[in-house]
Every structure is written in C-alpha cells, then in structure tokens.
Amino acid sequence: MGFLLETVIGGLMAGMLYSLIALGFVLIFKASGVFNFAQGAMVLFAALAMARFAEWIPGLLGVQSKLLANLLAFGGAMLVMVAVAWAIERLVLGRLVNQEGITLLMATLGITYFLDGFGQTLFGSDIYKIDIGMPKDPMFLMESVFQGGVLVNKEDLYAAGIAALLVLALTMFFQYTGTGRALRAVADDHQAAQSIGIPLNRIWVIVWSIAGFVALVAGIIWGSKLGVQFSLSLVALKALPVVILGGLTSVPGAIIGGLIIGVGEKVSEVYVGQHIGGGIEIWFAYVLVLFVLLVRPQGLFGEKIIDRV
C-alpha cells in the first residue's frame, strides 16, 4: 500500500515534469496553430545557454555568489531565447503566413536541426551541469504508517510547484486578456487575423518568447536532474502523449494530461511491466491516449474539432 502510494506520487511528479514540456507545445499551438516540433531543441538550447553562462559568468564578470551567477545566467539565457524567437519569426514563420499546419510543422523540423547544430557549436556537446541548489536526496513521509515510509523526491516536488505556477499564470493569460483572445484568433485563421489588424509578427515573437521561457524553465529543471547534454532534447518525446491527452489547445490539459500519463506509466510499468518483460511504459502511455481519444477525439480538454458543412 505504501509502495503503491509511492509509485503514484512518483508518477505524479514525473507527470508534472512532462507537463512542463507539454506546456511549450500547447502555447505555440494555441497561439499560432503550429505544432512546434522544435520544442525539444529549444529546451536543450535554453539549458545549454543557461549551463554555459553559469559556468562562464563567474570567470568573466568576477561574480562570486552562485545565486547571482545563476540569476545572471538565467537572464542571459532568456535574452538568447528572445533572440531565437525573433529570428524564427523573421526568417521562418513570417514567410509562411497562411500555410497549412503540416507545412509549418515541417518548418519547425528545420528549426530543430538548426538549433541542435547551432546550440552544440556554440556551447559544446559535452555534458554540463546546472546547479541551482535543488535538493537531491529523498525524503520519507509517513514512516509511522508504512514500513520504510513513503519516499518523495524533494527536487521533483519543487519542480512540480514551479510547473503548477507557470500553468496558472498562462491559463489566466489566455483566458482573460485581449491578447490571449487575439492569439487564439491567429491560431484559427492567419489571414482573417491579419485582416483585422492583428500583427502576426509581433504576436509570434511574443508567443515564441514565452515558449522560450517555458523551455528555459523546463531545461533548467530537467537539466539539473539529468545534466545538460543532447538527450535533453529527447524528453520532448515524452511530452507528446501528454499534449494529446490533455488536448492540443488546453493549458490546464497539459497539466492534467501530464499527471495522468505520469501515474499511468509508472503504475503500469511497476505493476504490469515487470511480469511481461518490462519496458512497457511508453507504449502504455500511448495506448492509454489512444483509448481516451476514441472517446474524446480532441483530448480531454481540447477544443472540439469542428467539422461542418
């Protein structure tokens, strides 16, 4: 019983981390109708920038305090992400207005390759460290109730808290501001949005910058867990079922999707996987998604797919 609880908690935490990445996908999709394949590459790029800046800054600027160095590095990395957003709008999206989703998806693949190459050229392809002082050791709760207690990971707990905050803020933004509404309009119809004066270029820079910010936060959290190196870009894959389960257009969906997938994965792996050879968590997540989609084709919280004559 204690162990089940532990598995569930572990799953919830893992799910929260997936959500963090899923959030980036949802943001961009919701605001421009682009499925941003480059989200993983952006996470890596941001994390690399952060890690290397934090490493360089003490030497370059003579900053002693680790906190200050980290803050400066964060600021620097954020600037880099804004620059990336700006360049993407200028060079890619701005020239692909009103094209179909699949074309835009393909363009983000181009961006992925570019960012992967560019990031590693700039920052190197070794393994780097982000140390923002996250606690690494486990803590044990309810030791009196269960034998051995229930293990909870403090690092994950912080990460989950940060993710929850981000989601809350972004949900508010989309639901309650005029800009949020404009973003949703852009996603529906680029041309009509233009025709009523929504400046696509500015909107896109903003959205991609926000996505860059989310990527940076995800990159820091994942990076401090895994170390910063190329594989970080692959965690994006883990976020795919989450985005789809929650619905491509729903910010809260990203969180709830993450939690469900996280728990589903871990519980299935630990309780079922063991007996059939293991390694089932990935496909289990996708099969779970598949069944949910059969009932709700737009995901749990996604906007209904409109199809009318």
Partner: protein, 415 residues
Amino acid sequence: QAKEQFFPLLVYRTGPYAPNGTPWANGKQDYIKLINARDGGINGVKIAFEECETGYATDKGVECYERLKGKTNTLFDPQSTGITFALTDKAPGDKIPLITLGYGLSASQDGNVFKWNFPLMGSYWTGADVLIQHLGKKEGGLDKLKGKKIALVYHDSPFGKEPIPLLQERSKMHGFDLQLIPVTAPGVEQKAAWLQVRQSRPDFVLLWGWGVMNSTALKEAQATGYPRDKMYGVWWAGAEPDVKDVGEGAKGYNALNLNTSGQSPKVIQDILKFVHGKGQGTGPKDEVGSVLYTRGLIIQMLGVEAVRRAQERFGKGKVMTSEQVRWGLENLALDQKKLDALGFAGVMRPLSTSCQDHMGSSWVRVHTWDGAKWSFSSDWYQADEQILKPMVKAAADKYAADKKLTRREASDCGS
C-alpha cells in the same frame, strides 16, 4: 598501391552519446598522431585516418563503413554494438577485420566461426562473469550468493541484453535471483525502473548502461535512496562523464574497468609531449588520460600492433592489406615486456590472440568513485573459462548453423 596505412575512424561526437564518444575518439586519434610524430609511423609506414560521424546510429554507421571501406587497408572499430551487428555480416565479404574491444557479440570470441571479429580484452559475457565473481568474493564466497537478489538495469538494446544469458547461467549455478529491468534508450526516464528497484530492494544492482543512461541511473538511485556502493557498472558505465555531474551523489559507485586512468603512464606522457605539446592534440588537454580516452588509446594501439605484427610476417615497412592485418590481429602477442616498451605498463594486462581465441585475455578490475575521482578497489580478474567456453561454443555453433557457415579448418589458420 597505397603508401599509408589507412585507419577509418567511426566515431560519435554528436548526439546523445557524444560526451562518452568524444574522449574515446580523441584517444584513437591522438595515438595515431603520436605514432606518426614520435616513431614516424609503423616501421616507417605513416598512418592516415579519416573520421566519420555515426551518431551511434546503426544506419549511419553502415553508411560510414561503406564510405570508408574502399579506402581502408586496415580495420574498423565501430564503437557500437548495434553497428557491429550490422557489420559482422558485411566484413567477411569485404575482407576487413573488426575490433570490438569490450563490446560486440560475445560469441565472436570464437575465431573459428567469426573469422573477422575481434572482441579483444573482453566481452559482455566476461564482464558479467567477473562482476558475479566479484560480488561472490565480497560476500565471502560464491555460495553466499544463494538467495540473494541481483537486479540488472540495462540499456534496452542488443548491447544491454548481451550479458543476460551469462547471468542466467550464473544464477542457476549459485541460486541467486536475477531481476531484469530494461531502460528504454537513451535512458533519460528511469523513474519506473528505480521504483522497481526500491520495491524489490535487490542486494546488488548491475548497471549495463551507456551515455546519459548512466548518470541518470545514478541520480535516480540517489533520489530513491538506493545505496550507490551496491551498484556495479559494466566498463562502459564507469567513466568520468557518467559521474561528473552527479559528483558526491555517485560516491561509492563501482564499475568495471579494462584500463587505468590518469596521466602517469608513459604513453600518456608521450602524448602530452609529442602531440599536445606541439599543439596537435585532438581534444582538451585535461581529458588526456581519462578512462575512455585511455581506452581509445588501447584500441588504437592494438590496431597499430596488429599492423606491426603483420609486417613481421608479410614484410617490414610495407603497407599491409586488411587481410594481412587480420592475420596480425589473430596473432597478437603482447607480453608485459612489449607493453612496457609501448608505454602501456600498468595500463593493461598482457594479451595474446589465436586462431581460436579472438579475445586474447579478459583481465579486468573494479574501480570505485569517491566523489571526485576513480580508484581501483579490486584486484585483476579473468572470466571463468569453464562457464564461458561452452557458452561461446554453443552460440557460435548456432550462428554458424543459421548462416550455413562451416568452422574454419586448422589449415586456414596460417593464412
């Protein structure tokens, strides 16, 4: 005819495995540079090389092989078990030998079936065997393993699965429980695996990982409170990149090692002098002498020595063909004296190959991470021939039957 001995270098300096692939590749390259700079080549034959980036991807590796096989007159080191599997079928046709030091197909030790494969110094079976021996020793005898629980956390690929048959064999012999926990490549998400570890609380965890999987495993072990000193990695899970950013958290973690690390050996000093000293170094200077770098040196050294051995038979100072190099690999005789002369004193143990045995020796030690550096914590082991031999033979026979190959005749050994 070519005037140089050409070494194609399949490497990966990008992608998920770059942090581990890079020092290895640098070691290989620096050794070639050393031979050219210090000795003027192999008995005067200069060495040429060309790198090809595989990204640890099999199809890319095959492309590299095809690209470079026309140029080479020496051998390939695929740097990946997956690529090795793919090349094992191609190499005999092209008559190019493969060195797979410490990786590849364990059965390919049997030179009578695998004429072109050379899993020098050890295979995953020998590695697994030694680990069990070591655990037995720690517990005070192999019979003490009875009833113990050993978990294998492995990279879910042919590489990670290789040790399983041997471990199963050993588990039958000693009566320990073997728990298999696969980790999907590249291994960034291991929470479920470590929850299972926490659930079953094995006495030991064997870690068969590569690249980011290793550091992630250590971090997850820390996060779930599994004692690191109960964890034993294969020799691909015991280098600096695996523990560097875990630091203190990996303290007590053990892994096999086929070679020493550190800058004291003579060959390393020579590299610092002849290669880095002249500004010719391939990677950063402080990486020279690290675990994987040194392993790269060894691999390259064995290749060079195979050429030298071949020259002894087919003509000193001549450029060898890859068939001749194969003979050289099959007749390596590196005794302590030779190793000392080469500057590898203490770095590795002697090794000599033969027509039947393409491995040469399986000497290996365990080293332990103390939070800042690796240091040896065991004596040298070799795999138990009694267990290994029949398994290799059976597997090689099955392979031969599948491929409709016949074992080499004794007469074939001379060529």
